[in-house]
Symmetry: D2
Subunit: 363 residues, 4 copies
C-alpha cells in the first residue's frame, strides 16, 4: 500500500537510487494557487546538508517537476503528478550491500517479503521517499490556508536534551516561520545550542541519536474527524508512524497523563470573548471522542537514533555467512531536524483530509 | 467511518443505550471453528463489574448472537453478522445530560459535528462499542491459531505503579492464559496488588486514574506488513488510538529509545538453533521498515484517566449557560483492566489482516 | 467484499436461511427523518408473492428492526445497524442440495471458493440479500429528498414484450408513484398486461423468463461524479451488476447507439427558460466524461431468466456423480418485477454517494 | 478518484496537453520479468495513426519511462512509477475552445465540477489518459502469464457491420496474437474489410461511428471473484465503463438473454477429460454468483461514436453566448480499433486484481 489518505490522497513510488521519485496527489481542491519554487525551498529544509550539523553529506538539489493538475499556477482539481529526479546517487557505494543485511535496517525484512530488493541506498525503505511527502504537504498547506488552518512542527528533544520552556515563550514567529532559523529546529536559542553540541559529540564518536518532534495544528474548527475507527488521532498516529525511524506517538497529555488523576486532566468548558464555547485548558490536545473541539491539536512524535553508524559492522548475508561492512556511505548522525518538515507535511495532509471528509458528511 | 481493517474488516454500529450493538466481520477465512460461548466468556473479561475493583457497577451480561456466516460451528467465508443487546441501560439516569456538555467527554464534539446526538450514556462515543471489537478479536484469534500466531496483552502501569520485572519472570501461563487471574491484569502478584490498592484509593476519593497496557504478538513470520504507508506499526497505532481514552502508542524501545545512542539500539543478526537468521536483541520491537522480522512485536498503549468523576461538576449547556451535573451514573475509576482484552482484540485483528494482505502480494 | 459505496456505504451479511439478515449503513447524514414503517412497505414491494404473478410463494413478512443510528425518528449521523429476521425458511426443502450443484446457480463456485457452503436456499448467493439493499435505498431516498433528487425504476421489457411508448406517455404519477400499481411494474396498462400474460404462460410451462428495467435519476445537479475511474456510470454499472441475475447495463443510447452516427447523437447546448445552460436532447443519458450534466440520468439493466426451473433436473454432486434434483422449492418464474425496487435502491445509493463525494472536493 | 483496483492498483494523472502523463502501479507482485520495449510496442497499438483508417493524425511516439519498482528487468514488489511525455501537442489548435463548450464533450461538466479546466485537447477528459492503462495492462498481462491466464479483445461490431462467424472460426492465432494484423482488430478478413469500408465512408462525410469490442479471459481458475458487492462482473463492468466513450457492458448472453427462456440458458454440469467438473455450455459467461466457474469469461463493451465531428459546430460559451467552432483539431472517426488494447488492459488488471484478492482470503 503506497497510498496515504482518504479524500486527499498521496500515492508515491521510487527507490533511493532509482531514476526518480514519483508522486500523485489526488483530491486536491481546484482553484488553489501553488508556487512550484516555494516547494523547492520547502524541500531544501529536508535535504541532507541543509539542516545544520549531523546530516548526511549527500547533495541532492531536489527539484520537483509538476507534470499535471495545474494550469497558470492554479490547481485544476485533477490529480497532481510530479517527479523528483535522483541526481547525486553514488550507487557504487552500496555494492558491498547487495547480499548483506545491515542490522536494524529493512534489508532483511524486504528480502523476506519480496525475495528481491534494491540494495542501493536502502531502496524503497530509504527516508528519501519522504521528499515526496514534502510535496504532498506543500499542496495541503496551500489548501489549508483557505480554511485558516496552520500547522507547525519543531524539535522538543534530542537525546536527553529537552525543551522545557512553555510554548508561549518560544521564538515561533508567525505560525512557526522562525523555526527554520534554528539548526536543530528548536525555537529556543539556548536549547537549540545544547542540542547542536550533543549531536556534534555523537557525530564525532560515529554514533547516532534520536529525538522528539512536537506538532501543533491551529485553527481547525470543532467537529472535524470521524468517531470510532477514523478518529482524528488515529489518522494522525498512522501518518506519523509511517515516517522512517518513528517509534512513538502521543497527543494531549499523552504518556505523561498516565500519572495524573482524572480531576487534574479535565478541560472545563468556558465561554470565549465572543461568547463561543471553548475549554479553559487543553489537556485533551484538541480532540474528544476522535473529533476536534476547536482547540489546537498537539502531538508528539518520537524518533529512534538511525541505524547506520559510521563504524565497521559485523553482520550476516543472505546465506547466513558473517560479513564485515566497512564504515562507508553518507548518513545523518541525527535525522530529527530534517524530519521536522516531514512531520509538518504529514500533519497538514491529515488535517486537510479530515476537513474534506467532514464536508462530505453534511446535507 | 465505522469500518476497521483492509482484508479482515470489522464494521460496527450501536449507541450505548440503543436497542443493540451490531457488528459485521468481513474477510473471515472459511473453515475456522469458532465457539459462540467462548466469545461470551471473552466478552465477560471486558464487562463492567467483572474486572476487579474500580469498574462500573452496570451489569450487562453481554451475550453475542451470531446471525450469519457460520454453519455447524464453522465459518463459511461469508460475513459474520452479530448483535449484542443492551439490556441494563438506565437511560433515565442521563436525562439531565440532554443539553449539557460533560467536560472532556465527546458530548460537545458530537454536537458540533452532527447537530444532534444521543446523550444517553455517551451514545456512540461510549466505550460500550468496544464489546463488538472483542467479537472481532475472537474470530481473529481463532484464525491466527491456524498460523501459530498468539497475542497477549497485560497491564504494565497504573498511575505511578509500574511493572518492572522482566517479561521472563511474569506469570503469563501458556500464551498469557494466566493474565485473567489477576484483577488488574498485571501478571505479577505484588505489582497487581499495589495497582489494586492505588485504584481503591482513587475510587474512594471519587477520582479516576489511567495506565499502560503492553501487547505482544508472537509467531508472526518475517515479511508481514506493508512498506511506506501501510507499515505494520502504523496499522497497529491506528488500531490502538481508536480505542476510547487512549492517548499514546509506541513500540520496541519507543519513547525510551530517544535517550539511547544508535550503537546501543541496533539488533545484530545471528543464526538461531535451526540455522535461520534472527536477531540477538529485539530493541526494534519485531518490525523493520514497516515489515515484521520474525521476532515478537511488542507495543505499549497509554490510557488517560477516564473523564467522568463521581463528583458534582459545573459545566455549560448548549446555550452556554452554566449547569451543575450531580455525581451520578455508573462509571469506572480505572478502565485499564477492562481495556486489556480490547487491546488484545485490536492487535489480533491487525495481525490477521496483515497476514491475509501478505498472501495477496505473492504469485 | 460485502460493502458497497464510498461515503454512503452499505455493509451486509446474512444467508437466505440463517437466523437473520444484518446490515449497517455508514455515512448517512444526520438529521434526516426516516419512517421505519414506510421501509417495511417498501420491503413488501420486493417480497415474494407481492409483486403479482410469477413470483415465489415464500411468505416472508420482512420486518426491519433498526438497532442504532436514530433518535426520535431522526438519523444521528452515526451508523444505522438493522436486521431482518428470516421467518418462513423451510430449510428441509433444501437438504437434497447439500452436495449437489444446481446448474447455473452459485453452488459450484461457492464450493470452489470457500470449500464449505450453506446450501439452504442458496445461502449467501440468494437474492434474499437484496432486502437489505431496499433498507439502504430507503435511507438514501430520504436523504436525496433534501437535494430534490428523485429516482424511479420500471420494467421496460419481459422476454420479447417491450415497452415502446415514449416516457412522456407513461403513467408514472408523481416521480414514479404509480408504478407500483402495475403487477409487472410497467407503467403502461396494455404492455403490462401483455407482460403478465407472457409470464403466466412461462410459469405454466415450468420455465422462467428475464427482462429489462429502466432507471431514471432526476434532479441531480451538474458536476456530480468523478472523472476517470470513479465515473458516475462506472459506479452505477458496478451497483447494477452486483444484483443477482443481472447480465447487462447501459446508459443513454447504450448498445443502440452503436448503430448511429456521431452527428445523430450529439446533444446541442441551449439555454433553458431561466437562462441556464442545458442540452436540447439527452442521448448522453445525463453524463459526460463521468460527470453529470444536469439532465436526467437514464440507464437500463438486463436480467437473465432465473436458473431454477420447476422441472426435474439432472446434474452432478461434489464427487462428480450424477444426481437428479426433483422439481421442488419455491421460486419465481420472473424475478424482474420484484427487482424493480432493488434497482431503484441501488441507483439511490449511488446518487447519494456521489453527491456526498462531490461536497468533499470543494473548498 | 484517480485510482483503479483493490490489490493491483493503477493511479494516474495527466492532462492531454500537459507536460506528461504519470502513472503508479501498486501491488505488482515481485520477481516478474517485464520488458520496457514491449510496452512501447503495445502502446503503439493504441496510438493515433497506427490502428488503420479512421484514426486521428496526431503522431505521438508514446515512449514510457519506468522510474521505479524494477531492478535488472524484474519487478521489485514496490510501486512502479512511470511517465509518458506529451510531445506532439499542438495546444494552439485549442485556444478557440478556452471558453466554449463542445457538445457531448466533458467541457461543460468539468467546468461545473471544478470551476476551472484545462481546455487544451480535452485536458484530463481526453482518451489520451488510456495510454497509462496500457502500461498498467502490460504489467498485469506479464503477471497473469504466471497463472496461465490470457486475455484477448477484438472488434465484433462497427456501426451496423457485425462479426457473425463463431469464435472457433476466427483468426485469433495463439491467444489472440493475430488480432493486431487486422486494421479494425476484427479477426475475420471479410468482416474487417467491410468495417474498414464503413469507417472510410463515415470519415469522408466528416462523421463518426461507434462499435462493440468483445473481450475473453481464458484460464482463470474457478473460485475467483467476490460474492455480493465485489462480483467479478461488477469489477469488470466498472473497469469498462471507465473507458472514454463506453456506453454499455454485458457478459455471457447479456442483453440477448432477455429474450430466452431459462431452460435454454442453463449450463449443465459435465465432467471434462480429466474428470473435473465443468459446464457443457457457457451461456453464463464464466461467472456464477459473482465468482468464476473455470470457463472463459466473455463480455462485450459498447462504444458510442466519438463526439468530435470534422464539421463546423454551433454551441454556447461559458456565458451562454452562441459561438461557432470551426472544423479543426485531429480526431478519430472511429475510436474502436484503438480502444481494443485498452479493453484488453482493463480486463487484465481486473483479472489479476481478483486473483490476488482470492489469495488473501484463504488460510
Amino acid at each position: 500500500m503506497n497510498t496515504f489518505g482518504n479524500i486527499y490522497r498521496l500515492t508515491t513510488a521510487g527507490e533511493s537510487h532509482g531514476p526518480a521519485l514519483v508522486g500523485i496527489i489526488d483530491g486536491m481542491p481546484a482553484g488553489v494557487v501553488v508556487d512550484r519554487e516555494s516547494i523547492d525551498s520547502y524541500l531544501a529544509l529536508r535535504s541532507p546538508g541543509r539542516a545544520g550539523v549531523g546530516s548526511s553529506s549527500r547533495k541532492e538539489p531536489d527539484h520537483v517537476e509538476i507534470l499535471s493538475g495545474m494550469i497558470d499556477g492554479q490547481t485544476l482539481g485533477t490529480p497532481i503528478g510530479f517527479i523528483i529526479r535522483n541526481q547525486d546517487a553514488h550507487s557504487e557505494d552500496y555494492e558491498h550491500l547487495a547480499h548483506a543485511f545491515r542490522p536494524s535496517h529493512a534489508d532483511f525484512t524486504y528480502h523476506m517479503k519480496y525475495g528481491i530488493r534494491d540494495y542501493r541506498g536502502g531502496g524503497r525503505a530509504s527516508a528519501r521517499e519522504t521528499a515526496l511527502r514534502i510535496v504532498g504537504g506543500s499542496f495541503a498547506l496551500a489548501a489549508l490556508l483557505k480554511y485558516n488552518v496552520r500547522v507547525m512542527a519543531f524539535t522538543t528533544q534530542i537525546g536527553s536534551v529537552r525543551l522545557t520552556r512553555p510554548l508561549t515563550e518560544l521564538d515561533l514567529g508567525d505560525q512557526g516561520a522562525n523555526i527554520w532559523q534554528y539548526t536543530m529546529r528548536c525555537p529556543d536559542r539556548d536549547t537549540n545550542e545544547r542540542m547542536e553540541e550533543l549531536v556534534q559529540r555523537v557525530q564525532e564518536s560515529g554514533d547516532t541519536i534520536g529525538g522528539v518532534i512536537t506538532c501543533i495544528i491551529n485553527g481547525l474548527p470543532a467537529g472535524i474527524g470521524e468517531p470510532v475507527y477514523g478518529k482524528f488521532q488515529a489518522q494522525l498516529a498512522s501518518a506519523m508512524m509511517s515516517i522512517n525511524a518513528v517509534k512513538g506517538f502521543d497527543y494531549g497529555m499523552g504518556f505523561d497523563g498516565v500519572n495524573r488523576l482524572g480531576s487534574e486532566m479535565n478541560d472545563p468548558f468556558v465561554l470565549d470573548h465572543q461568547g463561543h464555547i471553548t475549554t479553559l485548558t487543553n489537556h485533551s490536545g484538541g480532540i474528544q471522542g476522535g473529533i476536534t473541539n476547536g482547540r489546537a491539536v498537539v502531538c508528539r512524535v518520537a524518533f529512534k537514533p538511525i541505524a547506520t553508524l559510521m563504524r565497521e559492522v559485523e553482520t550476516l548475508d543472505e546465506n547466513g555467512n558473517k560479513v564485515i561492512l566497512p564504515a562507508r556511505g553518507r548518513h545523518d548522525s541525527c535525522a530529527v531536524p530534517r524530519a521536522v518538515p516531514v512531520v509538518q507535511s504529514m500533519a497538514a495532509m491529515v488535517a486537510l483530509d479530515a476537513l474534506l471528509q467532514a464536508q462530505s458528511g453534511k446535507i
